[in-house]
Subunit: 365 residues, 2 copies
């Protein structure tokens, strides 16, 4: 088992899991020491679910650009550089754009990101701009953006780093490895948001391959496999509906996708793991968002909170049993979308003069 | 030497360094698995400095609430709970508020934060609101906010968790321990922003105590001590000027402080380490901010970039020698202040129709 050391010695996912990622020999990692994210207990959420379950949160917001995308991006950009690419392109609802722009900057090559108009969270646009990417805002949705960049990449003019690029999946798998390393075996359930469906694809591949890998190594008990529970937002739930959604709408902008590129793989992950893909409403997502921050002290972007809302729904439906170990993947940082926080948060602000008596009164003392 | 394992086994700074932090027996950690942050190479900044120096970035943005404050807050809030506190209070330019609110939420107790009007970055307010803190906005500056909460804490009505609370310093020291663990010894220079001066105080204490600790252990070479280089923003540089600044002004809102609580300790750290405290202008800070993001792929809040601007100034002044190992502390996440990024970034955005030809043209292909 990999004993991945972050504080002293952690050098990112490629170094930690090179044998399983399988980049070509001589490919030099472009890395920000991504991965190695904490898996923290969430007893308050277990209590809210009303069950004696062991809930853990995989804090993917603590990757360098604030989302899980960095795991795959380090691998995809490293491979692109190795192949001689001079331009990185992607379609994005924001997180992929931020990650691609950061790793392209670190590698010293150009990056262009294509985003749908109107619905990319403020922080993500700020990131892509800061990293120096060229931002193309289309009069259309994510699915159209992906179609365009695929066509451009097919001409050979640029390297595509969306999750249809297999290297992205090879990197994103490492989150599954880390969870097994941390728990000593697979959890009973892995709960995560589903947008373009690259992440559920990567986790399922990761759990299967790590189980096989550790089994082959023969030095320990195999970790087994979790059941996969994926949640879409009700306004962007093509897999749940069984048909593409032409105009997806949800407050969870990171999963505002109507025709997922990895649709088939997501269904396979759910089916093969004896899991499922379901939906949660925007109201459930926002309630979960507030609950998560105010009870666990964890501020995640709305899309991430589909995991939390989903776990609560599973509890209501009787899908969880006492003692179950449930890992919720929190895909991105709440700071990426400050406007949502300000608009929905209960925590109030009051103004007052600067003297002690006024401040004391304002605190309710 | 502590071999702190983050991906598998990292449980935050209290567990990693309990013997050096010294919380009372029986004090249960309130933790979000903070600390264990990456120390990444920055060859692009070394190149920009025009010197053959080994520059590393301590990415404190990858703490749970996006700043270094979490290291001290886990300790201060754990101690407060142990002492029976029912309310946590602090004055803040934003990062302390976010951190205090998060750890109070995790501990299940109330939190009130006092911030100066007008100049707290959007993301930090969003965090404090999301975590459920009561936010008191005063018609005054940070220094007045601190005066008020100190008076309130003195009545016994609340536990103060500003860096005048010694437990904060005990926790923040751990960043120095991690740097030594990572490098195998102290760097030649430790460069960091100076606002209220708690952090330079904590780093210097940490390097000294870790050197003594490892020396006592006797099992290895002592790590030695770095020279400390602290940088204030020119519009908020009381230590450089030798007098308090009544109305501090800088784009680096996190260090917009005119009368630092740990002024004397900061001067001692600079003097005793054969270092110095100097200033950088807002123009230098913003230039460093763009350079850092676009060459290293690291997006830090403006105040953090006082470290980068400071290192470049040191290079110009001939303070750095070939082969020097220089650690720049990047205190907080750029996502905390998205508005600055959007206003200063060079990276441009263009709009176009969704078809392939239009997107291709917009990319300049």
């Amino acid at each position: 088992m990999t004993t991945a050391i972050r504080a002293a010695g952690w050098r990112g996912v490629i170094e930690a899991y090179s044998d399983l990622i399988g980049l070509p020999a001589g490919c030099r990692p472009v890395t920000l020491y991504e991965g190695g994210t904490p898996l923290v207990p969430a007893p308050g959420l277990a209590k809210a679910a009303g069950l004696d379950v062991d809930v853990r949160l995989k804090l993917e917001a603590l990757n360098p650009t604030g989302s899980f995308k960095d795991r795959g991006m380090t691998v995809a950009v490293s491979a692109a550089i190795h192949s001689g690419a001079k331009l990185i392109v992607c379609a994005s609802t924001g997180n992929t754009a931020a990650s691609a722009a950061a790793f392209a900057a670190r590698a010293g090559i150009a990056c262009a990101v294509v985003v749908p108009e109107g619905k990319v969270a403020l922080g993500k646009m700020a990131q892509a701009r800061a990293y120096g990417a060229r931002i193309v805002i289309i009069h259309g949705n994510f699915d159209q953006a992906l179609t365009a960049v695929r066509a451009i990449a097919d001409t050979g003019a640029a390297a595509l780093v969306n999750s249809v690029n297999p290297w992205r999946i090879q990197g994103q798998m490492t989150a599954a490895f880390e969870i097994v390393d941390e728990l000593g075996s697979a959890p009973d359930w892995l709960v995560l948001p589903v947008g373009n469906a690259g992440n559920i694809t990567a986790y399922w591949k990761g759990f299967r391959e790590y189980d096989a890998h550790l089994g082959q190594a023969g030095t320990q008990t195999r970790p087994g496999l979790p059941r996969m529970a994926g949640f879409q937002a009700s306004g962007a739930a093509p897999i749940v509906r069984g048909q593409a959604v032409p105009n997806p709408e949800t407050v969870a902008t990171a999963i505002r996708i109507g025709n997922p590129a990895s649709w088939r793989q997501a269904v396979d992950a759910a089916t093969d793991s004896n899991g499922f893909i379901d939906e949660v409403t925007d109201e459930e997502i926002l309630a979960a968002y507030s609950l998560l921050a105010s009870t666990e002290g964890v501020f995640a972007e709305p899309a991430s909170c589909a995991s939390v809302a989903g776990m609560l729904k599973m509890a209501r439906q009787g899908r969880l049993r006492p003692g179950d170990r449930v890992v919720l993947v929190l895909t991105g940082n709440g700071l990426k979308d400050p406007e949502t926080a300000v608009s929905v948060s209960a925590g109030g602000a009051v103004e007052c003069e600067a003297d002690v008596a006024s401040v004391s009164r304002a605190m309710g003392l």
